[in-house]
Symmetry: C2
Subunit: 316 residues, 2 copies
């Protein structure tokens, strides 16, 4: 049976302009589960990964607002772990609901996942990802001095802490995830790209303040699990070149070489479509025969059948 | 190989009079992992369960303090899921550190776990477990009217919300936990007794505001996994009758019938030793040959060898 790693987009958890309550997000998770049903029914071995941007952002805010001796603010890696527990719970309950209703005797299960990054990744010397609340310049300078954090001015809205976004190099729980998926479970893992950790000289790992791109995290997991397909789900059905120009063109079947040229030509927006294309190319090139797909949640099943989405493979 | 479900006590995560920071709690988790090493080395199949009282208490406080439209306070079941992600991360990283240092090629992995309770459990009509912050009588009465919560006056310290503490009847992720432990992983599950859910008529589950006793949750898991031993770790080496009286006596090997008589005679403090003894008796009586042990973290391995702790079995 084919093994597919599915990277859910932010819209699989929270809809734009809808409240951030548990109730609202759990409802979106249930709609997502319904959309995934066709893929589950088809019998694929499935690992689901998901983002956590808005959710971990809120957890960091809550931690800062409530910071006190009794309830000390948790560091960013621990906030990521909290978001995995929260979103994992919502997703596994939502998927189980759908499965129970249609009588499929499978279950979804969430694994707390640590993603290893390289301590020497150049991202550590150029932090770019803003996290947490906005501060005045004075406050920011004080925190920088006290805690050694790095702050940047954010488009006139105030000062915000920035953390690095290093590349994932390994996933600590890969064997457990593989064993679960091979036993027939639908596994939810690498939430938010995984909790970022670095490996020490003695082989142990420890948390770092960093943000791992969720699609690159999913690609790394797909590679380590020897998955057949990496299915990246987002808000559009196909990747486009010349996006929002008169000559916009949607891509169907593309080679990784072609995609790399499009990337060089600047067709894809950084922080939006670009990391998805990078993740797709990385996975498709990691071993012959591997297929990466970028499409919408609604078209995911059709895309797996070759009937929708942008499908990326390396030249044989 | 013998399968053992270990219920860690609160002191395995946080020491009295020590700060509630991630750093301090992670250090305690590392000490706990060192204590568990002898059991791991002996080759048992291990599932670890843990409490979450102080941790989920702090999460609920933070949620209330920071409650706003942008960062709405999460309900209690979701707070439980957050605490499982957080504590699971700390424990699995701490255990992996110990394993890597001694060269044992195993890993610890945390599973987000839902525990099913009965909607008709009498506990739902008599909520007893206080959660969250203290309020004035006026505030409490207003929230009771608005949200339908139940508040009780708490020993002159103010009014506090109370939730029911129903008995666990099933664990949603039991098959995934069993598959992981049989594949050789050290599994962390049923944190805080599990996220409380009730089963609907159509077989789906949904979260409820409730607290499941962590030792009863561990006993239920041990029963469902067909474990050989339930090892409940706490602050004392042995269970005592006539506790803190001149005729105090520590128990070594005891039958469940004897334990039930001691319970009836009121030897064990409710909310402290009593639920541990109840959990031990429940597991030992669930099938012939099952052994329940109550002892300290330090004596866990000796107790498994029959050389320490209070060991409880049913009469054959």
């Amino acid at each position: 049976m084919k093994k597919v790693v599915i990277a859910l987009g932010g819209n699989a958890l929270q809809k734009a302009n809808e409240p951030a309550t548990a109730e609202a997000q759990q409802k979106v998770c249930e709609q997502t589960a319904e959309q995934l049903l066709a893929i589950i029914k088809a019998g694929y071995e499935i690992v689901l990964t998901h983002g956590n941007g808005p959710q971990v952002g809120n957890i960091v805010l809550q931690q800062q607002i409530a910071d006190s001796e009794r309830t000390p603010a948790m560091p960013f890696d621990t906030c990521g772990a909290m978001s995995q527990g929260m979103i994992g719970y919502w997703l596994q309950q939502a998927i189980d609901k759908t499965l129970v209703r249609v009588g499929i005797p499978k279950k979804a299960v969430s694994v707390v996942t640590q993603t290893v990054v390289d301590r020497n990744d150049p991202a550590f010397s150029n932090p770019t990802k803003p996290i947490g609340p906005f501060y005045s310049e004075e406050e920011a300078r004080q925190i920088m001095q006290e805690k050694g954090y790095i702050f940047k001015e954010d488009a006139g809205r105030g000062w915000r802490r920035v953390v690095p976004s290093p590349k994932p190099v390994d996933i600590v729980e890969k064997d457990a995830i593989r064993d679960l998926v091979e036993a027939g479970h639908i596994v939810i893992a690498v939430g938010g790209g995984g909790i970022p950790v670095v490996r020490n000289a003695d082989g142990t790992v420890e948390g770092v303040d960093a943000v791992i791109d969720k699609d690159l995290g999913a690609a790394k997991l797909a590679e380590l699990l020897d998955a057949d397909v990496l299915l990246i789900l987002t808000a559009v059905e196909k990747v486009a070149i010349n996006f929002r120009k008169p000559n916009q063109a949607e891509l169907d079947d593309v080679t990784t070489d072609q995609m790399k040229q499009y990337m060089q030509e600047g067709h894809f927006a950084p922080g939006s479509m670009l990391p998805k294309v990078e993740a797709a190319v990385q996975f498709a090139e990691s071993r012959p025969g591997r297929l990466a797909i970028i499409t919408s949640l609604e078209k995911g099943f059709e895309a797996l059948q070759g009937k929708a989405g942008t499908r990326i493979t390396a030249l044989r």
